[in-house]
Symmetry: C2
Subunit: 399 residues, 2 copies
Amino acid sequence: MPSISKKGMRMPASPIRKLVPYAEEAKRKGRKVYHLNIGQPDIPTPDVALDAIRNIDLKVIEYSHSAGFESYRRKLAGYYQALGLDIDYTEIIITTGGSEALLFAFNSCLDEGDEVIIPEPFYANYNSFAISAGVVVRPIMSSIESNFALPPIEEFEKLINPRTKGIVICNPNNPTGYLYSKEEMLQLGEIAKKHDLFIFSDEVYREFCYDGEKHFSALELKGLEEHVILTDSVSKRYSECGVRIGALVSKNKEFMNTALKFAQARLSPPSLGQIAGEASLETPASYFHEVSEEYVERRNYMVEALNQMPGVFTPKPKGAFYTVAKLPVDDSEKFCQWLLESFEYKNQTVMMAPAAGFYASPGAGKDEVRIAYVLKIDDLKNAMETLAHALEAYPGRTL
Amino acid sequence: MPSISKKGMRMPASPIRKLVPYAEEAKRKGRKVYHLNIGQPDIPTPDVALDAIRNIDLKVIEYSHSAGFESYRRKLAGYYQALGLDIDYTEIIITTGGSEALLFAFNSCLDEGDEVIIPEPFYANYNSFAISAGVVVRPIMSSIESNFALPPIEEFEKLINPRTKGIVICNPNNPTGYLYSKEEMLQLGEIAKKHDLFIFSDEVYREFCYDGEKHFSALELKGLEEHVILTDSVSKRYSECGVRIGALVSKNKEFMNTALKFAQARLSPPSLGQIAGEASLETPASYFHEVSEEYVERRNYMVEALNQMPGVFTPKPKGAFYTVAKLPVDDSEKFCQWLLESFEYKNQTVMMAPAAGFYASPGAGKDEVRIAYVLKIDDLKNAMETLAHALEAYPGRTL
């Protein structure tokens, strides 16, 4: 029997997936499970997108251009321009979700053994895409005590060596919800310039910034036009996770020509998803106001509820719809499993993502979880009440 | 300015893409260009699929399971069972087109520097996926004189070394239209067993078999259940190239578990495309009969027309909707460019794919083109008439 690849063996199983059988078992027992573990929002997809799909007038669902429909790219350039970003439609490649954008970026810029620095905790699948592309991830710790702010420049410089080719950031951040300030972005730009590094900037949560804070895009970094590779997605912006439409955006022509060759190999991004994505650009501003208000209410409630629980601490994130919380438990993987396997409060329990899966440093995040506030406020209240009781009952509590 | 990857530099530009600007220029001049260069059929998508899309009843377009909707996988298992293949839904992962299926297969089975043997000419993007995965392609010549039959076993054995991990076939074949016989498949199975190799079998043209010939799937190879990795797609079967839905099928559990980790990293295949794909399984048999009759009529006309042109030879392919033809020209890339740039007959011209792009051996296929018979018979007649005149007028003709 032929053996699978070493690369395949190194691919991590998702930390959430391990819990899925326990969640299914809990549901089989008739228990209500609150899903705080996933990035699938409950927010409705805009009607303009659903209507565009329902009204398709096609005889053949054909390939699009490998870089995506030109009409979509032109309108999407208009979206960036409205944000004050000087982007032409030729500087955009439509991808199959943000995932494919990142894979094309890594494959176009990095060879086997090249290194990227990523502040941890980070989106767990960055690891998977790095393994796919043969790239080495060098993590750099951002701590919950400093609200997950950008680590000091010196920490980056300690890791930089001749194989270092780039820095990956996610802004606003998944899993921490942290929003990088303009000052932090400028610092990052300086390191990139000094050491001739790419900045891979994942900005899929751009619209989810709260408390009047303004998002500062990596594309605004002056003099770094050749360094910045932006990855984007409609998944969260329009609650369209399933359409699998994202984008690669860069002013670096050599990079774009190379990425297009990877795009040509897979022929085209999904045509139906592009129809939804293009129509979504007509989403009224009121949609975003409502969504933002909803998330702010959820966040405020949740952060307060968490910090009132003895021994629990979470920062108040300014973006996205996640937070990382420190819990008074021996091991958050065990705790999350125990919640599903052995605990119930009023026949309810909670599913969360153990944070260790978001760290590359062994042992880090062992007493942390990522919580996604993608539930309606009433459900969130029940979930927090349940969690509070669980922390009192958990045999491995450390308080 | 940071430099792009060596991998990216090695990615081939599609041989067809180079011709696109010339085709656009010809159209700007008001010239009718017959597209024999692409695998985008003109056949309508089945109504059941289009209706399913128009009738979607969703509030949120959510992620599906990373392996695809369970309902779709169960019905798709039924499709394979109806073909006599013993496939359970747990042995299927829905992918973003056949492209992603192949990429997951390579990444799950092959490490940097591992080798796969592929009979050439072969689908040009196999090269691209091999480069993405760091894999070395070892081509083995199948010649137009022998109708592109499977090369003798001894030729495979000459190339097999400790880094050889698999053989890639496409059956029926793109670009040649060749349909491997049961005997050839059994031979291939013997080599794979003897040398413990994977068989990556691309069977996306399964339904396109003519003259009463029966398709023999690699999944029918007895005792090779752990070796066979099937890649599949709805693109050609239902003329749904744009939905980007394919599948990985294998009875090798270790492989499937590994491929699923790659699938989890990209979250899910397109949900809308899956809705179309699932509905397409209800396509009436009459659809396939009509499509088959249409292609047979086109093929018969085209093969005869080509072989009547002085110095031209093409086999009569038994599958898919392509053929490779040998032309009396100095260089088919130059000829194809000349057709678009400098030739017209009744203000018409023809676009074809130079075959060199389908060979890995340098210099091979220099006087061959791939022709896709994806045009209605009247257009095909005009295209063949135009080609015949072009071959008489071409300054680089060798006859």
